[in-house]
């Protein structure tokens, strides 16, 4: 079926459509060349339409070991080409079928570079994916809708979950704002037992379980919509070692009294250089964030900026000066992306070891 993407600013991009009635979402782009299945199942993309800049998608198929959440939360995909004859020994099916099974509409055979350039130049914006013959009024109406701000509430776990070996070295309490499967696995792999809490869990509940450390996960949307979590995190600071990733990092910034802001088009991809300001070393990181921590807003706080983006200088990591709290804006667990940063989980363990 012929389909199209209509952006908020009126730009139209034509292609072919797989599944789905008209849908509205925030159109973003990811520059990773591999890992489409991990991307589409990353809960941080909730309510977004993901444009993949690499034009050949689906080449190696899909397989269950690498999904990052039980189902995709993104609203749609935009890709150059959808491969119908995947080849890889790990392949279990076609990406196309996967999208269809989960009802994720996909616009394909489209000039994804043109869309990417549009977003780069004008910032992320709303867009509608729809059949080519959808009437204008319907599209207008969709574009007029506000996108919800309660993404975390929709992607977080609804019950307290447990994972890992009983005899693990450490017990970590995970605040699930939309946690990626590989974060949980990475924590487990480095010897942690996990209790996974819904985003709105009270600090008291967590502390009552007496974990060795607290992990604040990644998640979708604007960190400022998580005021409830920020308040709880404030109560946890100083009580237990804390490690935050992505949304967790932003929530910590807000808890420190700092501020966050929406970036023009965010950082999404597997090739983002980040400088560790303490060692001078550069790490290539996997990133997925549309918001960032405002550096000036932290002037009064007792924290040190530990990592910075080499491309635009934005804050990519911080550490509290007196309390055992560390956080990074990027994704050390990768999936997809380079696995150079797994050492951060070890650092968190070190924090927990010291108590």
């Amino acid at each position: 079926m012929k389909g199209k993407l209509v952006l908020q600013d009126g730009a139209v991009f034509e292609g072919e459509l797989l599944g789905g009635a008209p849908i509205l979402g925030e159109v973003v782009f990811n520059t990773g060349m591999t890992g489409y299945q991990e991307i589409v199942t990353d809960p941080s993309y909730a309510d977004q339409i993901i444009t993949l800049t690499y034009p050949l998608i689906g080449n190696y198929g899909v397989f269950r070991d690498i999904v990052q959440a039980p189902k995709p939360y993104c609203r749609g995909m935009i890709v150059g080409e959808l491969c119908t004859f995947p080849s890889n020994w790990q392949n279990e099916g076609r990406f196309e079928e996967f999208l269809r099974a989960y009802g994720v509409p996909c616009l394909y055979n489209v000039d994804t570079r043109a869309i990417t350039r549009r977003i780069r130049n004008h910032g992320v914006m709303k867009g509608v994916i729809c059949p080519a013959d959808t009437d204008e009024a319907r599209i207008e109406a969709l574009l007029a809708q506000e996108l919800p701000t309660d993404q975390v509430a929709r992607v977080t776990t609804t019950w307290e979950g447990h994972r890992g070996a009983d005899n693990a070295d450490f017990h970590v309490a995970v605040y699930d704002f939309g946690v990626k499967e590989n974060i949980l696995q990475s924590l487990e792999r480095c010897g942690c037992r996990l209790t996974i809490y819904p985003a709105a869990t009270k600090a008291e509940t967590v502390l009552a379980a007496n974990p060795d450390g607290i992990f604040l996960s990644n998640g979708p949307g604007d960190p400022k919509s998580l005021d409830y979590a920020v308040e709880e995190v404030k109560k946890l600071m100083g009580k237990k070692p804390i490690f935050g990733i992505c949304m967790g990092h932003q929530v910590l910034a807000l808890a420190y009294g700092g501020d966050t802001y929406k970036m023009r088009f965010g950082h999404r991809g597997s090739n983002h250089p980040v400088k560790d300001l303490e060692t001078g070393r550069i790490y290539i990181t996997s990133q997925n964030h549309g918001y960032a921590v405002s550096e000036e807003s932290l002037n009064g706080a007792d924290v040190t900026i530990t990592h910075r983006s080499v491309n635009d200088g934005s804050v990519e990591g911080m550490r509290h000066n007196t309390m055992p709290i560390m956080s990074v804006q990027y994704h050390p667990e990768a999936s997809p992306g380079p696995t150079d940063n797994l050492y951060l989980f070890e650092q968190f363990k070190e924090l927990m070891r010291k108590g």
Binding site: T34, L56, S87, R113, S270, N271, I284, T339
Partner: protein, 1069 residues
């Protein structure tokens, strides 16, 4: 740091040979510039004059000297550089650095090795050390061991599993080795191998043939920051040398786990080896599991890194040079975006295909099988948003007469033949795959036979499906099908062919529907950041990103892939033309498809289009840019062939007109012109059939030179001495027809002289006259040449200048013209006129200091010689001498004839420059690695007609203490004429023969000329091949031998010493 301390020596890679092509000119040029950007003074040594890097403005001190211990030591002694950068000159540069270090030269002169340490280099290069290192960091390498006992070898093989590769130690070309699939075969091959090996040893290694071959390009700096520039996947699985494989970037069939697994391994390896700069890691990845092996690590920039640079826009050599100086990746700016840093990993939003260019059309007897020995002379690269598109673009960029993935001859093969062909791993395999799909052979079956991943076969099948849709629709071609065909970058002509309509019908339909290509940036970052370097590729997509260069733009057509007959020289010309345009205030636009070159560096032009050089592809760029005109005279035959069709479409060809080009190339028009001008040429005829050929031969008399019309590099050109040979030639070498006549010329024995001149149609400027050392009959590209001419009388010189002027005027040459003359019986004849740049232009430009291309470009823009202040006529010769010598790659090509003849065979060239002819000659011969022994045994076996001359030479050699060996005919003649020699048996005479002597290493130099008649010819051929395989120097022209003797005499008399001077010193004069 003082100025002195900021002097860096860069070693280039020398002449182009198979396995080491133009990529090191690109890398070296970038490195020199990069070093100078940081305030360093660069001293360069490279023996190859046909390069940009040896231009006197690329480095402060350019030494065009042999890359050998003696000469480089002398350069170091003279220049006293602070540091040495050795990782940018390929294997030659790297080996030189190792040699300098081991000889204590670096220590003696206190030269620091910049970047990667020698220890690290050795660890990567030495098989055992490498294995050891990989073991230490848990990186798997194929299990292997050395055995001299069959039972032990078999036991080892049984333990590591089959298939197994067996390589006998020290046998040439892998004689006696093989692949064993089971214990029985293993036993047989091991037994044979141990027997055949002179030291009775075999290397037994696990074979991973058929696994996916994946490469990673890695960078590391002194602060231990590591990044991946690019990864690549070979369509041809392990078993074919990566230089002979069709390669795509990025990898297509690896999921993120596999991609990251090998990425992490690459970083672990480069860290452990402590490489500072660029490095290439090759893997074999099991298609059925995530097991892998590290196959090879190259601790330097390489052909792959040049490809990765062009594929991503990330300039590896430039960054590597800065890293070698101690800069860290985050201190280096990404030149493409201008704002981000070099410390990131490029993201591609397109597919790149690299396709090798093989020289098999030149060597009809060569073994076309592809294996571990690289055979390609060059390569092309193509970019598109679809894999199909980039593959098809790559194929038509090759210039092998194909515009599509279809080899016409395969259409006539039976199913059985096709399937048999699928089993063969050769240069035509991908076309065979396409043909098999056309015949309905399943993807799975093809994958099973070829081990090519089904993903790639399915991609080819997509193309076949479009062919079938086109055929089904015919005249009723639908918009959807047309758009799809275009998305796969099918040219209009191909679409028309499958649809069974005229090309104009397709073009018209496309224009009606406004289906035109868009052009997109190669920007390193998948559009995340704005790019400031207009480096484009075409794609049939929706958004176009071109910012046209405006009304002062000129397109320079490049020269495509490096091949025999069209080498890096033409890239040198394209680059200089682009620079000259910019200097003249114009905007230069380059179209080319060779990833190895300087011309496809985005810095070289104002806009770069990485596109096939076909009429349609070029016309689309012209439509977009609407330039003032197109320059076609510097891109070799590739560009000149486009001039006519472009002019027909209303494009302005700047400089010499298309009509003049045609006049020079069309035999009859050219003869008419020469007649009018009163200039003689060897008598000849143009024939279109076998009978006409014999009739012409009877009229002209033997010997004759025969060749097809419209050729490059003397392709399929031969000298025939009688009717029988002419007969064979007409039957086997060419297909004569009305459209493709065969030229037959009287073969004149004489001295060849070559001239490159600049003309504005009125005056000419001849920077110099070159004399060829080998007599007529040896292709000028394979002949040594000397500037200034040594044996041309003043009167003859005057006549050469006069003829050159008359021809340039007669053809109204506006730009460059190359003329080849022959002086026979004291008469000057014209052999050939090429109204375009030739392969000697860089050589003559360098030795005379006259930038011919720059002037020719300005003339093409309308200037005159007088206006530019150039002298007219012959520029007075310089007080020094330069000799150009050819370099061959015979050892890599299997059974090809090495005797010099009218067909060009060399892959590259070197230059020797000195105060005297002997000195220049010595440097050229030494630089070309002819390995002339200073004493020892010379085996001489020559044709009857050469015996007298050979006897004189032999006498000369014996006087210097050499021992002569000769076969009976030659030997008897020598004895009769007082030359002391030992008689040896010919091969067919049995007993201990000359072949045995070569095999036993008892021959230090062989002189062998072509004889005719049945058996001796085969015997000579076998001897020459044997010499190549045994590494025994072999001279096949007595002229070469004579000059070799001259050098040896000069060396013996101490008249020729090791002395070096920079180009800049010569230019002062």
């Amino acid at each position: 740091m003082t100025r002195e301390a900021k002097k860096v020596l860069v070693i280039g890679s020398g002449p182009i040979i198979i396995g080491q092509a133009a990529e090191f000119d690109y890398a070296g040029t970038q490195a020199c510039r990069s070093l100078r950007e940081e305030g360093y003074e660069v001293v360069l040594v490279n023996s190859n004059p046909a390069t940009i890097m040896t231009d006197s403005d690329i480095a402060e001190r350019v030494y065009i000297e042999p890359i050998s211990l003696e000469f480089v030591t002398e350069v170091i002694r003279k220049e006293r550089p602070y540091g040495l950068l050795a990782t940018l000159g390929g294997q030659v540069g790297l080996n030189m650095a190792v040699e300098l270090s081991e000889a204590g030269v670096l220590e003696k002169y206190n030269v620091r090795l910049l970047g990667t340490t020698l220890a690290a280099i050795k660890q990567a290069e030495d098989r055992e050390l490498f294995k050891e290192a990989m073991k230490r960091i848990n990186q798997p390498v194929p299990e292997s061991d050395i055995f001299s006992d069959v039972e032990e070898a078999v036991a080892f093989a049984n333990r590591i599993g089959y298939p197994i590769i067996i390589r006998p130690a020290y046998t040439l070309g892998g004689t006696g080795g093989g692949i064993a699939q089971n214990e029985e075969e293993m036993y047989m091959i091991a037994l044979r191998g141990i027997k055949l090996s002179p030291i009775h040893q075999i290397l037994v290694e696990r074979s991973v043939a058929g696994w996916k071959e994946i490469e990673y390009e890695v960078m590391r700096d002194s602060a231990d920051n590591c990044i991946i520039v690019c990864n690549m996947e070979n369509i041809d699985p392990v078993g074919v040398h990566t230089g002979d494989s069709v390669v795509v970037a990025p990898s297509q069939t690896l999921n993120d786990i596999q991609y990251q697994m090998l990425r992490t391994a690459s970083i672990d390896i480069i860290r452990y080896l402590e490489i500072e700069g660029g490095c290439n890691v090759q893997y074999a990845l099991d298609p059925h599991s995530n097991n892998y092996y590290v196959i090879e690590v190259n601790p330097r920039v390489s052909r792959s890194s040049a490809l990765a640079s062009k594929a991503t826009g990330y300039p590896i050599a430039k960054v590597a040079a800065k890293v070698a100086l101690g800069m860290t990746l985050d201190e280096i700016t990404n030149a493409v975006t201008g704002e981000t840093k070099a410390c990131f990993e490029p993201s591609l939003d397109y597919v790149v295909t690299k396709f090798p260019r093989w020289p098999f059309e030149k060597f009809s007897m060569a073994d076309r099988t592809l294996g571990t020995q690289m055979k390609a002379t060059g390569e092309v690269m193509a970019i598109d948003r679809t894999l199909e598109g980039s593959l098809l673009k790559a194929i038509r960029s090759l210039e092998i007469g194909l515009d599509h993935i279809a080899l016409p001859k395969l259409a006539h093969e039976s199913m059985e033949q096709l399937i048999e062909r699928l089993h063969k791993v050769d240069d035509e395999r991908l076309y065979t795959v396409a043909e098999a799909l056309r015949r309905g052979i399943s993807v799975e079956k093809i994958a099973y036979i070829t081990k090519i991943d089904t993903f790639f076969i399915n991609k080819i099948k997509n193309i076949i499906t479009v062919e079938q849709r086109l055929a089904a629709e015919g005249e009723n071609l639908t918009e959807d099908t047309l758009r799809l065909a275009k998305r796969y970058s099918m040219p209009d002509g191909v679409i028309a062919r499958y649809a069974g309509v005229g090309t104009d019908v397709v073009t018209k339909k496309r224009e009606e529907l406004a289906i035109y290509p868009t052009y997109k940036y190669v920007d390193t970052c998948a559009a995340e950041f704005e790019a400031h370097t207009p480096y484009y590729y075409s794609a049939y997509a929706t958004e176009d990103e071109v910012v046209p260069q405006g009304d002062k733009s000129v397109i320079v057509l490049g020269s495509g892939p490096i091949r025999i007959g069209q080498g890096v020289e033409f890239d040198y010309c394209s680059v200089h033309s682009s620079w000259a345009l910019r200097e003249a205030g114009m905007k230069s636009i380059i179209i080319n498809n060779n990833p190895e070159t300087v011309s496809t560096d985005f810095d070289t032009s104002d806009s770069l289009y990485f596109e096939p050089l076909t009429v349609e592809d070029v016309m689309e760029v012209i439509r977009k840019e609407n330039p003032v005109g197109v320059i076609a005279q510097f891109g070799g035959q590739t560009a000149i062939n486009l001039a006519g069709p472009l002019a027909q479409r209303g494009v302005k060809i700047l400089g010499t007109s298309v009509d003049s080009i045609d006049m020079a190339e069309d035999r009859e028009r050219f003869d008419d012109l020469l007649n009018t001008l009163g200039i003689p040429r060897p008598v000849g005829a143009l024939v279109t059939s076998h009978e006409e050929a014999l009739a012409a031969a009877a009229r002209l008399g033997y010997p004759l030179i025969v060749r097809p019309s419209y050729v490059l590099g003397g392709r399929a050109m031969e000298i025939v001495y009688n009717d029988d040979e002419l007969d064979v030639y007409m039957k086997e070498a060419v297909v004569a027809s009305k459209d493709h006549p065969v030229l037959i010329d009287r073969y004149m024995v004489g001295m060849e002289v070559e001239v490159d001149a600049i003309s504005d149609g009125e005056d000419v400027c001849i920077p110099g006259i070159m004399e060829q050392i080998e007599r007529a009959g040896v292709h000028s590209g394979d002949s040594m040449a000397v500037y200034p001419a040594q044996h041309v009388s003043p009167e003859m010189t005057e006549q050469i200048v006069d003829y050159t002027r008359r021809i340039a005027r007669g053809l109204n040459v506006k730009g460059i013209v190359n003329i080849q003359y022959i002086i026979a019986n004291d008469t000057l004849h014209v052999i050939e006129v090429n109204p375009r740049s030739s392969r000697t232009v860089p050589f003559i430009s360098k030795v005379t200091g006259i930038n011919m291309i720059a002037y020719a470009t300005r003339i093409a823009l309308g200037e005159t010689l007088k206006g530019m202040g150039l002298p007219t006529g012959l520029v007075p010769p310089k007080p020094y001498v330069a000799v150009k010598a050819p370099v061959f790659s015979f050892a890599k090509m299997g059974l090809v004839e090495i005797a010099l003849g009218p067909e060009m065979k060399s892959t590259g060239e070197v230059m020797g420059i000195g105060r005297t002819y002997s000195e220049a000659l010595f440097k050229a011969i030494h630089g070309a690695r002819m390995r002339i022994p200073e004493a020892g045994h010379i085996l001489i076996t020559v044709a009857d007609r050469d015996k007298e001359e050979a006897a004189q030479l032999a006498k000369g050699f014996t006087e210097l203490g050499y021992h002569i060996m000769a076969t009976d005919g030659t030997g008897q003649y020598f004895k009769d004429h007082g030359v002391d020699c030992v008689l040896v048996n010919k091969i067919h005479q049995g007993g201990s023969t000359c072949a045995d002597l070569i095999r036993q290493g008892k021959v230090d130099l062989m002189v062998n000329t072509l004889t005719y008649g049945k058996r001796p010819e085969r015997e000579g051929f076998r001897l020459r091949r044997l010499a190549v395989e045994m590494g025994t120097p072999c001279l096949t022209s007595l002229d070469t031998a004579r000059e070799v003797l001259r050098v040896v005499v000069g060396r013996a008399k101490k008249e020729v010493t090791i002395d070096v001077e920079a180009l800049q010193d010569y230019e002062m004069e």
